[in-house]
C-alpha cells in the first residue's frame, strides 16, 4: 500500500479542525460559555472556509477524485485511510460546512449545558464530514456511526416534545439501518476476495456478479434509506425533527438525512450498479409514495415542526426519484436537491427555532400575524417556504425541475404523481405561511423582539446561498456533472 498525499491535505484539515475544536471545547471549563461559543464558531468557520475553497478549487476539466489522501491503516484487513472528493461529495462537503457554521451561530443563545452541546455537535459533524470524504468502506461505516450516536443525547437532553421517546426511536431506527449496512459491506468485501476495503478498487467493473449485486444493493438501499427518510422507513424522522433542538434539527434534516442518500449513491450504486438498475423501479415507487404521502400528511399537521418534518420526507423522495431514473439529469437533480434541500431545511428550522424560542409554541393555530410582530423573522420563514415549493430563482427549483423532467421520460406515471404531490405540498406550505405570518396580530406576542442583525447572520448566509445557486445553478451542476457522466458511462 503506497502512501499518497495531496500537497496540502485539505480534507484531513477539515476533520482536524473539527477534532481540535472538540478537544478545545472539552478542556475549556463548562461555565465559560462565551469562550466555548466563540471557539465553536471559529472552528466551524474554518471548516466552512475549507469546504468553500475545495468546492472552488476542484479542477472540473480533470474530474474524478481529487485532493486524494491515502495511507495504510490496518494492512492485515486491507483497510486504508483513504479520502478524496469528487463531484458528488463536494456539494455535500460545502453543504455540511454551511449548515455547521450557521447551526453553531443559531445556537448562540443556548444557556443549558453549553459545553456538552457543542462538544457533541462537533463530534457529530466530524462523522458527517468524514462520511462525505471517505473512500474506504471501513471508514465510511465508522464515520456513518459516529455521526449517529451523538444524536441520542443531543435530542434527549436539549430537545422538546416527547424528546426521550423521539431520541430512542431515532437512534434505534438508524442503528437498525447500520445493522443492514455492516453485513452488506463485509459481505461485499469478502465476496470480492481482493482483501481490501478500498471503495474505488472494489467498484471496478466485474468485481461482483449480478446476484451478489442485487442482494447487497437491497441491503444497502434499505440500510442507508432509513436515514434518508425513504417511505416506509421514515417514521423516525418527523418525530426526531420535532423533538430536536434548533441547531440539531438543522444539522439533522439538513445534512444527516443526506448521508443516507449519499450512502445509497456512493456505496450502493458505485459498488452494485447492476443491483441498482434492478431495484430502480422499486426505488422510484417508494420515492413517489414518499413524495405524495409526505405532502398529504404535512397538510394535516398542526405543529409547525411536524409540517417541516413531513415536507422533508416529501423532498427526500425527490432525491430518491432522481437517483432511480438512471439518467444524467436525474442524478444531477438528485444531488442538487440534496444540497438545496439541506440549505432550505436549515433555514426553515432556523427560523422556526427563533419563533419557538420567543413564542414558546409551535402550534400553528396559536401563532398568526407574526409578519407584523417580527417582519424579519417572518421573511426568513417565507423564503424557506417558497424554496420548499420550488419557486424559480431559488435553488431547489432547478433541482426539482431536473428530477421531474427525467422522471417523466423514465417513469411517466410516477412523474405525474410526484408533480401533483408537489402541488399539494405547495398548498400546505402556503397555508402554513398564511396562518402563521399573516392574519390578525396575536396580542400575546406583540411585545416580542424581531431578529437582531447579529442573530440574523446565519439566516442571511443561508438565504444568500439559496439565491446564489438559484440564480446561477450551473455553479453547482457543472461540478456534479463531472462525477455523473463518467459514472453513467461505466454502466453496462
Amino acid at each position: 500500500m503506497h502512501t499518497e498525499l495531496a500537497e496540502f491535505p485539505f480534507l484531513s484539515a477539515i476533520l482536524t479542525s473539527c477534532l481540535v475544536g472538540l478537544l478545545v471545547i472539552m478542556v475549556l471549563p463548562g461555565h465559560r460559555t462565551r469562550e466555548i461559543k466563540w471557539v465553536s464558531a471559529g472552528f466551524s468557520g474554518v471548516t466552512l472556509i475549507l469546504s468553500v475553497y475545495l468546492f472552488a478549487a476542484y479542477d472540473q476539466d480533470l474530474g474524478g477524485f481529487q485532493f486524494v489522501e491515502r495511507m495504510a491503516w490496518i494492512p492485515r484487513l486491507g483497510i486504508s485511510y483513504y479520502n478524496g472528493a469528487d463531484g458528488f461529495s463536494l456539494p455535500m462537503l460545502l453543504l455540511t460546512g454551511i449548515v455547521f457554521f450557521t447551526g453553531v451561530l443559531t445556537m448562540w443563545e443556548l444557556e443549558h449545558r453549553v459545553k456538552e452541546f457543542f462538544a457533541l455537535v462537533f463530534l457529530l459533524v466530524t462523522g458527517v464530514f468524514g462520511m462525505f470524504m471517505a473512500l474506504d468502506l471501513f471508514f465510511i461505516f465508522v464515520w456513518f456511526d459516529v455521526s449517529l450516536f451523538p444524536m441520542y443525547l443531543l435530542i434527549a437532553v436539549w430537545g422538546s416534545t416527547r424528546k426521550e421517546y423521539a431520541a430512542m426511536k431515532l437512534t434505534l431506527y438508524l442503528l437498525a439501518g447500520s445493522a443492514l449496512i455492516l453485513p452488506a459491506i463485509v459481505y461485499l468485501v469478502v465476496q470480492a476476495g481482493m482483501g481490501t476495503f478500498d471503495l474505488v478498487a472494489l467498484s471496478a467493473e466485474g468485481t461482483f456478479g449480478p446476484g451478489v449485486q442485487k442482494f447487497a444493493f437491497l441491503l444497502l438501499y434499505i440500510g442507508f434509506g432509513i436515514l434518508a427518510g425513504v417511505w416506509p422507513f421514515h417514521t423516525w424522522s418527523p418525530v426526531g425533527h420535532v423533538a430536536a433542538p434548533t441547531a440539531v434539527s438543522m444539522i439533522h434534516a439538513g445534512v444527516l438525512m443526506k448521508i443516507g442518500a449519499f450512502g445509497v449513491l456512493r456505496v450502493g450504486m458505485f459498488l452494485c450498479p447492476e443491483g441498482w438498475q434492478f431495484w430502480a423501479p422499486l426505488m422510484a415507487l417508494l420515492a413517489t409514495v414518499g413524495i405524495v404521502y409526505g405532502a398529504f400528511v404535512g397538510l394535516s399537521q398542526t405543529d409547525l415542526k411536524y409540517c417541516i418534518g413531513y415536507s422533508s420526507v416529501s423532498h427526500m423522495g425527490i432525491v430518491g426519484l432522481g437517483l432511480a431514473t438512471m439518467t444524467v439529469d436525474g442524478i444531477n437533480g438528485a444531488v442538487f436537491q440534496m444540497f438545496a434541500h439541506g440549505v432550505m431545511t436549515a433555514l426553515f428550522f432556523s427560523s422556526v427555532g427563533y419563533i419557538y424560542d420567543r413564542t414558546h409554541t409551535k402550534i400553528i393555530a396559536e401563532l398568526g400575524g407574526l409578519g407584523r410582530v417580527m417582519p424579519v423573522a417572518a421573511t426568513y420563514f417565507i423564503i424557506a417556504a417558497l424554496t420548499g415549493i420550488g419557486v424559480p430563482c431559488l435553488a431547489s427549483f432547478w433541482a426539482e425541475l431536473l428530477v421531474f423532467i427525467s422522471s417523466f421520460k423514465v417513469y411517466p406515471v410516477y412523474g405525474i404523481l410526484a408533480v401533483s404531490g408537489l402541488v399539494v405540498s405547495a398548498l400546505f406550505m402556503l397555508r402554513v405561511v398564511q396562518r402563521t405570518c399573516y392574519g390578525p396580530k396575536n396580542e400575546k406576542f406583540a411585545h416580542l423582539m424581531d431578529v437582531s442583525f447579529t442573530l440574523g447572520i446565519p439566516r442571511m448566509i443561508l438565504v444568500s446561498v439559496i439565491v446564489l445557486f438559484g440564480l446561477f445553478p450551473s455553479l453547482m451542476l457543472d461540478v456534479i456533472r463531472t462525477a455523473t457522466i463518467p459514472f453513467l458511462h461505466r454502466l453496462p
Partner: protein, 471 residues
C-alpha cells in the same frame, strides 16, 4: 527444566503465600491494598517481560508460547486492575481482605495454568482450582445472605458442569486413547464422525461454556454478579472470561474444523446466547444484573469467532477477549465508584452522574457504546473482525442475527446512558467521592478504548502471531 518461563505463575503463587501469612497478622486493609497493588504490578511487569518466552514444562503437559503468554499478560492486567480498584473494598469485611487477595491470586494462577495446559489432566486441575477460588470469593460478600445464596448456586451449577466436562473428557480419551492435545489434534479429526467423539467434545466444551455463561449454562451469571462483591463480579466478568476464551479456542481447534455438527451446535448456542442475553437484559433494573446479561450476549458474539475454526476466527476471538476485558472493566469501575458503600445499585442510582463526576459519566458512556459495538471504539473493531471471519466462512445469517442483536442491546445501554446523562442528581448529592487514581484510570481506559478502536493495527499483529502458536 527452565523455571524462568514459569516466573509469572511463581509470582502469583508468592502473592498468594504472602497473603496467607498476612491473614494471620492484625487486620489492616490499607496495608493489604498496598502490598497487593505492588505485587500484582510486579507480576504484570514480569509477564510482559516474558511475553516471548517459549518452552514446555512438566513432561510436556504445560506449554508456554506466545499464545499462552499473551493471555497470561491479559489475565494479570485484569487481575492488577481489579486489585487496583479494591482500595475502597466495602463489599467484603476488612478482616477477610487478605483472604480476598489470596484467593484472587490463586484463581489467577489457576487461570494462567488453564491457558497453558495442553494435557487433559492439567486442564481439569487448573479449571477446578480456579472454580473453587471463585466460589469462595462469591461467598465472601458482606451481609451474608446474598453472598451465600449466590455462592451456593454458583457452586452447585459449577460442580455439575465440571462433572459433565469430566465425562466428556473421559469419552474423548476413550475414543482417541490420547491425553495430550498435540496427539489429540492429530487423531480427533479422523474420528470426529463417531458419535462418542463429538459427544465427548461437546460435553467437554460445556464445562467451559458454563464459565463463559453461554446459554443454556448461564443461569448462575445474573445471581452471582448481583450477589458477589463488585470487585469480584468485575473479576469474573473480565479475567475469567479471558481465560475461558483461550481454552475454548484450544478445545475447538481439536476438531480441526472437520465437524459440521460441532459448528452447528456452537452456532445455535451463539444465537440463543446473544438473543436471550439481550432480550432479558432489557428488563433489568439492577446494573450488575444488566451487565451479567450483557456478558451472556457477548459470550454469543465470541462464540461466533470461535466456531469459525480459522486463523481469522481465532484472531477475532482473541481480540474480543481484550475488548471484553477493557469495556467490562470500565463499566465495573463506574459501578464501584458510584456504589461506594458496596451496596448493589439500580440504574436509577446513576442519576446525575454527568454532574457528580463528568469523567466517570464519560467513561461509562464510552464503555457502553463500546459494548454496543459502535465505532470508534474497540467494541466495533472487535465485532468487525468477528464478522469478517464469519463472513469468510459464509455464515451470512449468523452475522445478520448478531447485528440485529447489537441493535437490541443498544436499547438497554441507552437506558443506562439516559440515567447517567439525562436525569438530575438526587437532592443534596454532591460530587462522587473519588478513589485515588480513579479519574486517571478512567481517562486511560477511555483513551485505550478509543485508540485501539481507531488504530488496532499493532494489537492485531501481535495477536495474529500469537494465534499462529495455537497450531
Amino acid at each position: 527444566m527452565n523455571w524462568m518461563i514459569f516466573s509469572p505463575e511463581i509470582c502469583c503463587l508468592v502473592t498468594a503465600l504472602v497473603f496467607l501469612f498476612l491473614a494471620m497478622a492484625p487486620t489492616d486493609a490499607r496495608r493489604d491494598y498496598i502490598v497487593a497493588v505492588a505485587l500484582t504490578g510486579l507480576a504484570v511487569c514480569i509477564s510482559l517481560a516474558g511475553l516471548y518466552a517459549a518452552g514446555e514444562l512438566f513432561h510436556g503437559t504445560y506449554r508456554v508460547d506466545l499464545f499462552s503468554q499473551v493471555f497470561k499478560s491479559l489475565l494479570l492486567m485484569g487481575f492488577f486492575l481489579v486489585v487496583f480498584i479494591s482500595s475502597g473494598l466495602s463489599g467484603i469485611e476488612h478482616r477477610y481482605h487478605p483472604e480476598y487477595y489470596m484467593l484472587l491470586s490463586i484463581c489467577t494462577l489457576a487461570m494462567m495454568m488453564l491457558v497453558s495446559a495442553v494435557h487433559i489432566l492439567t486442564l481439569y486441575v487448573a479449571l477446578e482450582l480456579s472454580s473453587y477460588s471463585l466460589y469462595i470469593l462469591v461467598f465472601l460478600r458482606k451481609g451474608r445472605d446474598q453472598g451465600v445464596a449466590s455462592g451456593m448456586k454458583f457452586f452447585l451449577i459449577g460442580a455439575s458442569a465440571s462433572a459433565t466436562m469430566l465425562l466428556g473428557l473421559a469419552l474423548l480419551y476413550g475414543a482417541t486413547n490420547a491425553a495430550y492435545f498435540r496427539v489429540m489434534v492429530e487423531v480427533v479429526p479422523g474420528v470426529i464422525h463417531q458419535p462418542e467423539v463429538i459427544l465427548g467434545l461437546a460435553l467437554a466444551l460445556s464445562g467451559f461454556l458454563f464459565k463463559m455463561a453461554v446459554f443454556p449454562f448461564h443461569f448462575w451469571a445474573p445471581d452471582v454478579y448481583e450477589g458477589a462483591a463488585h470487585q469480584v463480579a468485575a473479576y469474573i466478568s473480565t479475567a475469567s472470561k479471558v481465560a475461558v476464551i483461550a481454552v475454548l479456542l484450544r478445545l475447538v481447534a481439536l476438531s480441526g474444523g472437520e465437524s459440521t455438527h460441532l459448528v452447528h451446535f456452537l452456532a445455535v448456542l451463539a444465537i440463543l446466547s446473544m438473543t436471550v442475553g439481550n432480550l432479558t437484559a432489557i428488563a433489568q433494573k439492577d446494573l450488575k444484573r444488566l451487565l451479567a446479561f450483557s456478558s451472556i450476549a457477548h459470550a454469543g458474539y465470541v462464540l461466533v469467532g470461535i466456531l469459525c475454526i480459522s486463523p481469522e476466527g481465532n484472531v477475532s476471538a482473541m481480540f474480543y477477549a481484550v475488548t471484553v476485558l477493557l469495556l467490562k472493566f470500565t463499566c465495573f469501575l463506574v459501578v464501584i465508584q458510584t456504589a461506594f458503600d458496596g451496596e448493589n445499585i439500580d440504574i436509577d442510582r446513576l442519576a446525575g452522574l454527568h454532574r457528580r463526576s463528568p469523567v466517570m459519566a464519560l467513561a461509562l458512556m464510552t464503555a457502553l457504546f463500546g459494548l454496543a459495538g459502535i465505532p470508534p471504539t474497540i467494541g466495533f473493531t472487535g465485532k468487525l473482525l468477528i464478522f469478517v471471519a464469519a463472513m469468510e466462512k459464509g455464515y451470512f445469517a449468523l452475522v445478520l442475527i448478531a447485528m440485529f442483536n447489537v441493535v437490541i442491546s443498544l436499547y438497554y445501554y441507552l437506558l443506562v446512558v439516559r440515567a447517567a446523562y439525562l436525569l438530575d442528581p438526587p437532592e443534596g448529592a454532591g460530587p462522587l467521592p473519588a478513589m485515588p487514581g480513579a479519574k486517571i484510570l478512567a481517562g486511560t481506559l477511555v483513551a485505550a478504548i478509543v485508540v485501539l478502536g481507531i488504530y488496532p493495527t499493532p494489537l492485531i499483529e501481535l495477536i495474529r502471531v500469537a494465534a499462529m502458536a495455537l497450531g
